[in-house]
Homo-oligomer: 180 residues x 2
DNA sequence: TATTGTTATACTCTATAACTATA
DNA sequence: TATAGTTATAGAGTATAACAATA
C-alpha cells in the first residue's frame, strides 16, 4: 500500500514524492502511482500557468468566465470550490492583469458579474494550448491506444467518484472510524 | 482542458473540487479527472489514517520503519521527500504514540536509527487493511477486469513519470516559458 | 434580518536559519 | 570545516470574523 507522499496539505507546494514505491510485497500500489501522476501534472501545469495571476485557480476562474455565462463572485466560488474571500483576492489580481472585469449585476446591486475581457480570452487560448502539451507529455509513456484506454477509464472513475456522496462514501469505506 | 481545482498549495487541505468538469467542448478532461480521483483518495486515506500522528506522512514513516532496514532521520527524510525539520516533528509525535523509537547509531553518534515498536507493527497492519478498503472502494465504479487494466496502466505511467527527470521534462513540455 | 462582497485577524503548515553535538 | 538533529523565526496561504452596502 503506497499512499502518495505529502497528501494532507502542502501550504507551499511540497510536491516532493518518494522516488520509489514503499516496499509493497503484495504487488500494486495505487496510492503511490496516483500521487506521482497527480504531482507530475500539478507541477507541469503550475509551470504552464505561471502566466496567470493566481496560478491554476486563476486559470479556472478565467476559463469559467470565458466559457460560461457571467456568474457572480459567490456562484463562481461555489462552483470552483474555493472560499469567497479567496475569490476576492483572485479577482483582484485577474482584474489588475486586465483579464476579467467586475460588472454590476442589473438584478442585484450587491452582486458583481465576472466577465472576461478580450485579452482574457486570448490569454486563455494560450494557456489551453500549453495545458494540452502538458497532458500529452504526461501520457507520453504509453502507446496511443493505451493512452485512450487510460483516459477513458480515468474519466469513468472520476465520474463515479464525483457522483457518489463523498462523505457517505468515505465513512462506508472506513466504517470503524468513529469520527464519521 | 479541465485542470483539477486548487492545485497549487492547500495549507489547510482545501480539497474541494469543482463538481463538474469546466465546459470542455473538445472532449476529455484529464486534469479534472485526475484531480477528482486524487482528492477522493486523499480524503479517504486521510480519514483512514486519522489513527496515526502526522496523518498520511506519519503512515509513510511508520511503514518505512517497519518494512525496511533501520534508517537515519535524514535518510528517511530524503526517501520520503520531506524536509528534515518536518521529520523531527513527525518522529516526535510517532515516538510519543509509542509507534517508533529513536535509537543511537553505533557507527555515528550524531545520527539516530528509526525502528518500529511492536505496537507500531500492529498499528501498521490495521492501517494497511484500511487503505486496502479505500483503494478497493475508489475503483469500485469499474468492473474487475477494467480495474486491473487501470491499475496496470497507472502503474506504468507513474513509473515513466518517476523515472524521467522532472525538471527537464517540465521545461520540454512548456518550452515557451522563460522561467525554466 | 439575511446576503454579497471586502477587509482584518488568527491559524496551519512549511521552509530558512541559527544552534548543539559529533565527525 | 562539514554533517545529524533540534529549535526558533518568518513566510505563504487559508479560514474566521467583523464590516459595509443592499436585499
Amino acid at each position: 500500500m503506497g499512499l502518495m507522499a505529502a497528501v494532507p496539505a502542502p501550504p507551499s507546494p511540497s510536491m516532493a514524492a518518494p522516488s520509489a514505491p514503499p516496499s509493497d510485497p503484495l504487488g500494486d500500489d495505487l496510492g503511490w502511482a496516483l500521487g506521482v501522476l497527480f504531482r507530475a501534472y500539478a507541477k507541469s501545469s503550475h509551470a504552464a500557468l505561471s502566466n496567470v495571476p493566481g496560478g491554476p485557480r486563476g486559470y479556472q476562474v478565467l476559463a469559467t468566465a470565458v466559457r460560461e455565462t457571467p456568474r457572480t463572485q459567490l456562484a463562481l466560488a461555489h462552483q470552483l470550490g474555493v472560499d469567497r474571500t479567496v475569490m476576492t483576492y483572485l479577482l483582484d489580481d485577474l482584474e489588475k492583469a486586465g483579464l476579467v472585469t467586475r460588472q454590476p449585476d442589473p438584478a442585484d446591486r450587491r452582486a458583481r458579474r465576472i466577465v472576461a475581457t478580450d485579452r482574457g480570452r486570448e490569454r486563455l487560448r494560450e494557456l489551453d494550448a500549453r495545458l494540452g502539451e502538458v497532458e500529452a507529455h504526461l501520457l507520453a509513456g504509453l502507446p496511443d491506444a493505451e493512452q485512450s484506454t487510460f483516459r477513458a477509464l480515468l474519466q469513468r472513475l472520476a465520474g463515479h467518484v464525483n457522483t457518489a456522496d463523498p462523505m457517505t462514501d468515505t465513512c462506508q469505506a472506513v466504517a470503524e472510524i468513529d469520527a464519521c
